[in-house]
Structures are given as structure tokens and as C-alpha cells.
């Protein structure tokens, strides 16, 4: 996940809830236009505005490129497929739309502390209360999920190394089973640790 870059820019100070809503709205609008030429103009405009916001937030160019790097070859394949099937305008649309979305999502995480982000999501989930969902529990689950992703990646890398030493690196089962079992054991420890700190979801989040 992307690290938080501290700052005092208007982008940093914008309330996290508003940022998430803007991200959702942009993501929807970028896919909603039926006409190709209009969609291309909108996608390019979104890309330009996102670039401007990065400049306002004073995010170093190195981090901007870091956002796009994992995407580079997927983007290349997508654009080539679109070029071959539907012409250059469709290829341009795919490239502009995808990079705008990824950069914008990256900007939200770069300029918002994850605690603030989770708190905003938790508040946004209050409408689920009548359905029997406790927003504080959902908030805890969100926070844990975001934390687990890099932990999972680290455990997977460790297990891969161990299995390579046994000549098992090409077996998906030999990779996945130890990762899942270790995560399950870790989950029990984490749950015990949370309970040991007297976490009470019915009173949490105040």
C-alpha cells in the first residue's frame, strides 16, 4: 500500500469523507459516458485535474511514478488489445481512464492518514446499522484488512523461500496451505490480544 506523505496542502486538509466521495464519483463518471469521444475527453480531463492535485499536494514525482509502475505492463497489454480491436481512440481511453483512477486513488491514500480514512469509512457505514452491521466492528475489520495485506505478502515471500529450499516452489498448494495456516494461527493471537485490551465494539468509535 502507499505510504502517507505528511503535508499542509488543501488536498491534505480536505475531509477524508469528501475525498472518498470524490473518488467514487470520479470512478463512476469515468465509466458512465456511452459516447467514446466524450469519454476520452472526460478521462483526459480527469487525468489533468489529478496531475494538478498532485502538484498542489506537493507529492514528489518519484512517488507519482511509483503509483504507475506496477500498472505499466498491464496498461501496455490493455492498450495494445484495444488498439487492435477498436482503434486508437479506445486505446487512449483505456490508458487515460486507468491511470487517472489509479493515480487518484493513490492521491487519497498519500494525503490521508489511514486512521482518518478508516474513521471516515466507519462513519459512512452508519446507514448499515438497521441491517445488523455494527459500524465500529466494520471499522475494525477494515483497519485489520488494510494491515493484513502487506503482512500476507511478507508471509507469502517467506514461505516461498522455505519451499524453494525443499524444491517445492512450483507447487501452488505447498505455497498456499502454510500461508493460510500461519495466518489463521496469527488471527487467533490477534483476536486474543484485542480482547486482552478490553476492546468493546459496542462502545468503540467514540
Amino acid at each position: 500500500m502507499t505510504p502517507y506523505v505528511p503535508g499542509e496542502s488543501p488536498v491534505h486538509r480536505c475531509p477524508p469523507g469528501a475525498k472518498i466521495l470524490a473518488l467514487i464519483a470520479t470512478g463512476t463518471a469515468l465509466f458512465a459516458l456511452p459516447r467514446l469521444d466524450m469519454a476520452v475527453v472526460l478521462a483526459l480531463a480527469a487525468l489533468a485535474v489529478t496531475g494538478l492535485l498532485y502538484w498542489i499536494a506537493r507529492i514528489p514525482a518519484r512517488l507519482v511514478l511509483a503509483q504507475l509502475r506496477p500498472l505499466a505492463w498491464i496498461l501496455a497489454v490493455l492498450v495494445l488489445v484495444q488498439l487492435a480491436l477498436d482503434g486508437w481512440l479506445a486505446g487512449l481511453l483505456v490508458a487515460a481512464r486507468l491511470s487517472a483512477l489509479v493515480l487518484l486513488a493513490g492521491l487519497v491514500t498519500l494525503t490521508t492518514r489511514s486512521a482518518d480514512l478508516i474513521e471516515a469509512l466507519q462513519r459512512g457505514l452508519a446507514w448499515l446499522k438497521p441491517l445488523g452491521v455494527n459500524p465500529a466492528k466494520a471499522g475494525l475489520a477494515i483497519a485489520l484488512t488494510l494491515r493484513f495485506i502487506p503482512v500476507l505478502a511478507a508471509i507469502a515471500a517467506e514461505v516461498r523461500e522455505a519451499q524453494r529450499a525443499r524444491g517445492l516452489e512450483s507447487s501452488l498448494v505447498a505455497l498456499t496451505v502454510p500461508v493460510v495456516v500461519r495466518m489463521l494461527k496469527m488471527s487467533d493471537d490477534i483476536a486474543a490480544a484485542i480482547d486482552a485490551r478490553s476492546y468493546d465494539p459496542d462502545r468503540a468509535g467514540h
Binding site: 472518498i20 473518488l23 467514487i24 470520479t26 470512478g27 463512476t28 469515468l30 465509466f31 458512465a32 506496477p70 500498472l71 505492463w73 498491464i74 497489454v77 490493455l78 488489445v81 480491436l85 481512464r97 486507468l98 483512477l101 489509479v102 487518484l104 486513488a105 493513490g106 487519497v108 491514500t109 469509512l121 455494527n134 466492528k137 466494520a138 475494525l140 475489520a141 477494515i142 483497519a143 485489520l144 484488512t145 488494510l146 493484513f148 495485506i149 503482512v151 500476507l152 505478502a153 507469502a156 501452488l172 498448494v173 498456499t176 496451505v177 493460510v180 495456516v181 495466518m183 489463521l184 494461527k185 488471527s187 487467533d188 490477534i190 483476536a191 484485542i194 480482547d195 476492546y199 465494539p201
Partner: protein, 181 residues
């Protein structure tokens, strides 16, 4: 839900996100990517059970909708759900719940074939039943074309069923998590 259940929910949501680190292959014609992520729904159901598995995938879909780039290839946002693959993605929580439910119901009598059948039912039949008409509506192609285009998923999904059966059996032996229903 106890604290342990919440941690399990988060774990399987994160596992589904981590499965997205395998690069996707996008199908032409229907424009839906093949990813390892649909395995997340099957694993969550088979290992965490109906309630926790379903909640885990619901949480994952929610985070994707909120714009986090957790889908394969770093994609995210409501656009994913509105796109051609949205039917499949929205069915993941349902698939996880149904798989978990059937696993818990037949926990005492599970055989390899029964497990495979449950996973095919929840992970393939149920998901395609919503996913294919969704493609037809969103991509504006007729139903037959959407169905033929989706047939490209079948070999990959069949391989995923085999993998999940092997993984779930091994995990169940090492660290049992399911309660019979």
C-alpha cells in the same frame, strides 16, 4: 460477531486482495479479466464458513467500491462494479456464503467429490448465472455471445476448484475452523 470472527473476516478480505497480486489476463469480446481473485470467494467459504466468508467478501467488495485499488491489476472504484465484470464481483459474497453454508451442512460427510461439487455450484454455476446476463446488459451483447465469451473462464475456474479442494482439505486437517451447522 466475536473479535475472533472479525479478525477472520479481515483475514479473508485481505487474502482476496492479495490474490489480486497475480497479474490478470483480460478476455477480448467481453472485456472481463481472468484473475486468481475468484479463488478468494471459494477459499473464504470453504475455510471461514458461511457468515464469516460472506462478510469477508462483502467487506472486500465494499473496499473496492470505496476506490481502493485492491482488484487485480490495481483497479478499484465503483467503475469495476458498473463494468462488464461487475456481476461476477457482486456475486462473490453470495458465492462465499453459499459455499460456506453447504460446507458447514455436510462437514461430517465431506468427500473430495462432494467438496468439488459444492465449489462448482457456488463458485461457478451461481456466479455465472448472474455474471453472464450482467455482461450482456453492460457490454450490450446478446446473451449467447456473453455466455460463449465467458466460457473462456471455465478452464481457469475448474483449475481453481481443484486447487481450493486440495488447499481446504489440508488446512482443515492442520487447523480446523468450521463448526457443523
Amino acid at each position: 460477531m466475536s473479535t475472533r470472527d472479525i479478525v477472520f473476516v479481515a483475514l479473508f478480505a485481505a487474502l482476496t486482495a492479495a490474490l489480486g497480486l497475480f497479474p490478470p489476463v483480460t478476455l477480448p469480446v467481453v472485456g472481463v479479466p481472468i484473475t486468481a481473485q475468484s479463488m478468494g470467494a471459494m477459499l473464504a467459504g470453504a475455510i471461514a464458513g458461511a457468515t464469516r466468508g460472506g462478510a469477508a467478501l462483502a467487506l472486500f467488495v465494499l473496499l473496492v467500491c470505496a476506490g481502493l485499488p485492491l482488484m487485480a491489476g490495481g483497479r478499484g472504484g465503483l467503475g469495476i462494479v458498473m463494468g462488464p465484470g461487475g456481476g461476477f464481483v457482486l456475486m462473490w459474497p453470495v458465492a462465499a456464503f453459499v459455499i460456506g453454508f453447504l460446507y458447514e451442512r455436510s462437514l461430517k460427510t465431506l468427500t473430495v467429490w462432494k467438496e468439488a461439487l459444492i465449489l462448482v455450484l457456488g463458485g461457478i454455476v451461481l456466479t455465472y448465472a448472474v455474471g453472464i446476463p450482467w455482461i450482456a446488459v453492460v457490454a450490450r451483447v446478446d446473451l449467447a455471445k456473453a455466455a460463449i465469451g465467458s466460457a473462456w473462464f471455465l478452464p481457469g475456474d475448474a483449475a481453481k476448484v481443484v486447487l481450493v479442494v486440495l488447499i481446504a482439505r489440508a488446512v482443515r486437517r492442520a487447523y480446523p475452523t468450521l463448526q457443523p451447522r
